[in-house]
């Protein structure tokens, strides 16, 4: 099957600032594809190019087999967009937000009206039909934005930080809805700062920083390749960490010290965890042995410091 999105050496410049510095990726039909990256990585810039509103400065991009430069209108007819900043229409009540938005698409009013009702139920806002937008909580607004993005039954759904700023209940509800959509075969592109979100939802993802792609694979494969299976953490100053590691054969396992934390990244083949724990107990230090996560990969690749 031909890819839903195909980007090659894709670049976005604002005046002379390079926000996206030549990235390559392909998204297959039915896939949930993630963009992970710190603030300013270029995620939204990339999403806006996929949306076929902002035009690439260089490189090639094909969305649904078409060129955004010439076929923006046709592409957007089949696209659903959930933008990073909520731009619901505060002048209109909940239901009209869906009806008016639906009117921009080539579909009959009756179809839009039926879908609007179904979608409000789908995102559990059925009882908020006539509420004003400012009366909604952040999570309700986000769900409404997602419902709005689905009004044209899109084949490709673009979600720019769908759950940022929401409480755990709201995030879980949105995840459930997104998994339902994925099960129906909707292709999804998602940006997020939340590692658990990416791990739960994405089949494949890229880690971006400074406009470049640093790594690209499934969450599991990224963890295995960059971190391993387990992480041993020890509360230790730089000097304490040096003492702790002195004379210890790490069998090639990598380690990292930041602030007051020493982390040793372990795979099964290292068979180190018992020795590390013994040593930590002997020294009376605080330690933790936990599963490796995407967050470890992310921090390893993008660095631990805030670089904005």
């Amino acid at each position: 099957m031909s890819p839903v999105v195909e980007a090659c050496a894709l670049e976005k410049r604002y005046a002379d600032f390079v926000a996206v510095a030549g990235i390559d990726f392909q998204i297959a039909p039915g896939e949930c594809f993630g963009f992970l990256g710190p603030n300013g990585a270029g995620k939204t810039s990339t999403m806006r190019m996929l949306q076929s509103v902002s035009l690439p400065s260089a490189g090639t991009l094909r969305v649904l087999g078409m060129d955004p430069r010439h076929d923006g209108k046709r592409i957007r007819t089949r696209l659903g967009v959930c933008p990073q900043a909520d731009n619901l229409d505060p002048d209109l009540p909940v239901i009209d937000n869906l009806l008016v938005y639906g009117s921009y698409f080539p579909q009959a009013r009756a179809v839009t009206a039926r879908r609007a009702d179904e979608l409000l139920e789908f995102v559990a806002l059925g009882d908020k039909k006539n509420h004003a937008i400012p009366e909604l909580s952040g999570g309700m607004k986000r769900r409404l934005v997602i419902a709005r993005a689905l009004i044209n039954e899109p084949e490709l759904l673009l979600l720019d930080e769908p759950t940022t700023g929401l409480d755990p209940q709201a995030r879980h509800l949105i995840w459930t809805k997104l998994r339902e959509l994925r099960a129906r075969g909707v292709t999804m592109v998602l940006t997020t700062h939340y590692m658990d979100e990416a791990e739960r939802l994405c089949d494949r993802l890229v880690i971006m920083d400074g406009g470049k792609i640093l790594a690209q694979d499934s969450p599991r494969a990224l963890i295995d390749a960059h971190v391993g299976q387990e992480v041993f953490e020890l509360g230790a100053s730089a000097a304490e960490a040096r003492d702790f590691l002195a004379g210890l054969d790490l069998c090639g396992a990598s380690h990292e010290h930041t602030g007051d934390l020493l982390a040793v990244f372990l795979s099964a083949k290292h068979q180190l965890s018992e020795r590390l724990i013994e040593r930590a107990r002997g020294a009376g230090s605080r330690y933790l042995l936990r599963n490796a996560t995407l967050e470890d990969v992310f921090l390893k690749l993008t660095g631990r410091e805030l670089d904005e």
């Binding site: 604002y14 509103v53 902002s54 209108k73 957007r76 007819t77 933008p83 731009n87 008016v100 009117s103």
Partner: protein, 257 residues
Amino acid sequence: MTASTSFLHGAARVAGRNLTVWRRYAAASALGNFGEPLLYLIALGYGLGRVVPPIDGLSYAEFLAPALIVSTVMYTATFEGTFGAYTRLTTQGTFEAILATPVTISEIVTGEILWGGLKSAFGATVVLVVVRAFGLVPSWLALGVLPLGFLAGAMFYAMALCMTALSKSYEFFNYYFTLLVAPMYLFSGVFFPLEGAPPWAHRLAQVLPLTHVVAVSRALVRGQPSWHTVGHAAVVLGCAAAAMALAARLLRRRLQI
């Protein structure tokens, strides 16, 4: 599903969105269109008018009435095209949201201007009804101020949209209102006849689009159109076309980033 929507569908839906919102505040909006010209008509037309000698055989109220219709048009279109459109462009992100749908930037601009024309034509209708109630509308040709209101409204709205596309804040509009809109209101022959003014003032007034709109409105309401009226209407049409083209350019530059 059809492959995609037509240009007119997109533009009509953008205008339709504004109409849907406006319907919720229609009463307040109509009151504004109704109240202010009424106060001017009473205070100036009948108050001041008592001490003003007849102009071309017209009482001051008769002279003022046709111009009040189109000055309402100018203010309606200008407020909506600046503060209203700027809110949709920036704080509310309305245009940004629409751009995620098949509607294009040109369709947004066209739809917005269409809306500006409609809202202004509505304002013109309200004032026409008011001045008619005072017996100040002798001719049926006065109904021509509705299409005139639409055209002039579209022109003033497009001019305002240019400011909106350039603006970085609401305060920016003070320049536009103080340097262009207010002088236009005062020196376009709304309150006093341009005939008999010094030649330089007369010529200066010809540069202000409202002058030509006022001339057409007066000819229609009095039922005395002439070739001059056609000339004035042509100027309005030309200005409208130029303002629309410029608004489309500037807004495209602002939105397509």
